[in-house]
Symmetry: C3
Subunit: 396 residues, 3 copies
């Protein structure tokens, strides 16, 4: 879309309510709001490609809190901050400690005197990640209301136990780009399927994020997993309701081939069963090392029963014209490459390698667009200003 | 104070000598110099609140050397650098190693080719922290004089074994704000008292910094601690002299209630006895692990005798109109919240929570003002220039 | 050289081929290209000394990958980035892990969406460091060609198993400065000699970088080491060819005094024998802990036979007028200062201390100049633009 068209489209949307807010779950945002963020991300990506400066902050800090290791998301966040003129400040001390109540509220405020935005990844414990983000948000909101903070920073969910909105939104942009428009997604079948991985305890937030988001754009979403690998019941219910309300479909099956059959898009990805994650959280809180080791052993043994849940030439042949788009949040467990047996065969991955990289390339811009909408009361005016200034990123 | 008044006041003060210098101890600076730093911090805080850009550096590095863990001070320092346009560079390698002589001099210079400022926290070992900062300063001064460095960076003490000037100055700003003016502090009683904490080995720099600074502004400072919990004798002598010269008072008592009686301000805070810190330093140098464990055991046992040194509704009732201002450098050990029994009751802390957060909110601006005065020959002119440019921090 | 002269000289050189390229080995660059980088580094250093802003990027990221510990080079790199307006992003996760194939390619691309430059230090394993850098480069080049990346970042070798070009180029700038011009280096004798150190396993890249570079500027290079402490045979052959083609000389001797005799410059520096490094790499790959310990023991015992390879007043007396320039990449092992017996006597080191610091001071500017040439199609025009803008680094 041309940049003038982007602005024209933007002006049709009602997204004022993104201003001065957090971005925690896609399903807390309206369709207009999600569309606006994608349009702005498109604008930022196009301008970046053209070598233009997108610096809209003279100074300001983006705090980075990663309570789980991350390379890709961390760099996407750093890139988004840098693009807009913000500096990253890592709060790595919280990685392993679980703070509560006053300690948490106090820390949140002490970090935030100059903060514009706070990116948080906390996806390890069911029932904890989203809660931590909301507590953090409430703490700084209170600090602002009490006159301690000059401005209330916005929280960006960089992966919680419930949703991974920066990933899901980047994935949606890839789909929009691949099929030409959001409208073209209507009726397209997306198979979000479990896949085998030799590792253990992968978060549920990616599949939950995908079914929670794509079901709002009229897609025919099929979720597939081996018996026992359930997701959070609330999110399943949400996907069902979304499908009803938006003219799509949502089905759950326990068979990979069935999900792949006639699919336009496949997203095979490992995760841990919801009930295992619950037990794990309980054991972790009890610091029951032996119990955790036992649980891991059980799980890996159970995973191993489903080694045939691999995306490969055979099941790709079942998809629409044997040519579904393969998606992954990366890194994928590639059979014979990054592990002996994994989520996807080397052949399929290599065929779609460029697509998966391209999918990931939307993430820095989606994050930047979320920040943009949270921090500027009138994003369209700021965009027009960027175009008018037309400043190169490099001196010439 | 209005911003024009700030500039008018600033022009009455003689503070040229802050330029191209370090900030290590408040008592090495004149009253005028301290006042100027506070005025500039006020200006920066007001402009930040108004959304203005305070970027006065196009580029430049602020080195961060934390030889002890820190979250609050580290973020205040990062925030100060960001506000002014400097980038932080962490020198974390020195955390655990004690380097000497040529190695130290060489490292100091190798880091500093682009440095404007170097923030150092080194508060763990009596007789070491301040020395390390002075050695670092001498090293870069020599490097500059020998033509190795293009400019001589300024050292900012972010907490040493002797003083914690960025904390004490932020506290003084809080007092100035709370009582309306520095003049209003004359005759006000401040109780800097020891308080019980279940932890061990807290630095002496906060109480030392408070008595060393507040005694210069005509306050009636009472230091209280259980027998044996002495501070550095030199700082006690200094506080006495300050009081004499500035028309205030300085008393030491061994009774918390006595200190609280009729106080306008109370600052209950745990610290380790000076002699314990000395023994600890000796044991650490000798790498005597058993000795250190034994010392910790002894100390905690000794601390436990003074659990009644808690700030609570009972002793707060003894203060002026039962309404003294409660201060703390945070995080406080709050009884029943962050520990079983601690420095302050939950009730008192909650009543003054907003005040303690507000107290902390001055710190990024005090640090920025210290940097400002150390790096600009004519800070008033730069401030006037900031006001003239009147640039927003966010693009519009 | 005056800044106008620098521009005039620059315009005589053919260095277009540096644009959009990596800088991995000095011997992959033409003499004109090396001269251009030094001229630009001189310009940047002079402007920095004059307090001028060298900010040529509005935004952009410089990734920092250190697979071996580093303080000096890391800060030089950070300083170079800051000077030009780029922000550093540390990729520390790769420190200990050796990734291969798809994983490596994928990571390289995932980090690089906003990257202008990627500085890599990987000097621990013979046959690995340079390879890692080339793989990284190929990965991002492919990503760019496939439309995943908007721009292809340039790799800067911050020390590999083969070369340490930012060090060697900084050293060459020191020599140019010390002797007045590159022309004056013709015929000057440089003794690159092994020296005793109590530590083990130091990389070969500094001596290799020095003989590979200085032999191209007509110097009379003598390499000296105890029998068995060979460097990579390819680099030895390269130095021989360089000497032949550029009217200099290159000799290898096994005697420190012989190397020092009549030398204009001495560079005494410890390294591990090439064959030991090969065995070490093999043992590391096999995770043979016992073998590694045995190798270290053997090596230290062997090193100890050559304690007399120390640079001191006695052998300095053999040099040209007993006044050769002493060089070192720092930190040096100084006998009686940083170790009992080491590479250089305290007396000699102190005499040349300021020179070694000054030598190091070129490094941030050499790195910045490498980035400058890799990222700007017309560096001379950008330099003219910097001069025209004549912007101060600090607001006034």
């Amino acid at each position: 879309m041309s940049e003038l068209n982007i602005i024209r489209e933007l002006k049709k949307l009602n997204f004022n309510n993104l201003y001065d807010k957090d971005f925690l779950l896609t399903w807390e945002k309206s369709i207009d709001e999600l569309k606006a963020i994608m349009l702005i991300a498109e604008f930022l990506k196009a301008e970046h490609k053209n070598g233009k400066s997108l610096r809209v902050f003279e100074s300001g800090i983006g705090i980075s809190i990663f309570r789980d290791n991350s390379t890709r998301t961390r760099f996407s966040y750093i890139s988004a901050l840098n693009m807009l003129g913000l500096s990253v400040a890592d709060m790595d001390e919280v990685k392993s400690q679980v703070a509560h109540g006053e300690t948490e509220r106090e820390t949140a405020n002490m970090l935030s005197f100059l903060a514009e935005v706070i990116g948080i990844r906390d996806d390890m414990y069911l029932g904890e990640g989203d809660k931590y983000q909301r507590n953090f948000s409430a703490a700084v909101r209170q600090g602002f209301n009490e006159g301690v903070l000059h401005q209330c920073p916005s929280i960006i969910n960089l992966q919680s136990d419930i949703d991974h909105p920066t990933q899901a939104m980047a994935d949606l942009m890839k789909l929009k780009d691949y099929f030409g428009s959001l409208e073209n997604l209507r009726g397209k079948k997306l198979a979000m399927t479990w896949a085998y991985s030799p590792s253990y305890g992968k978060p549920l937030s990616v599949p939950q994020g995908i079914i929670g988001l794509m079901s709002r754009f009229g897609m025919d979403v099929t979720l597939a997993y081996p018996e026992g690998y359930d997701l959070l019941p609330d999110v399943i219910q949400l996907a069902k309701n979304n499908a009803k309300q938006n003219g799509g479909a949502f089905n759950v099956v326990n068979n990979m081939d069935e999900a792949f059959r006639n699919a336009d898009v496949v997203y095979p990805k490992s995760w841990a069963p919801f009930k295992v994650m619950e037990r794990r959280t309980t054991l972790l809180k009890a610091k029951d090392k032996a119990g955790l080791d036992q649980l891991e052993k059980e799980c890996l043994a159970n995973n191993a029963k489903f080694k045939n849940w691999e995306c490969n030439a055979n099941n790709m042949a079942l998809t629409k014209n044997a040519a579904a788009l393969y998606m992954h949040c990366l890194p994928a467990d590639i059979s014979g490459v990054s592990c002996n047996a994994g989520e996807v065969s080397a052949e399929v991955f290599e065929k779609y390698r460029r697509d998966t990289y391209h999918e990931a390339s939307f993430k820095p811009f989606i994050i930047a667009a979320m920040i943009f909408c949270a921090r500027f009361a009138n994003p369209a005016a700021v965009i027009e200003n960027i175009m008018k200034c037309n400043k190169d990123r490099k001196c010439s």
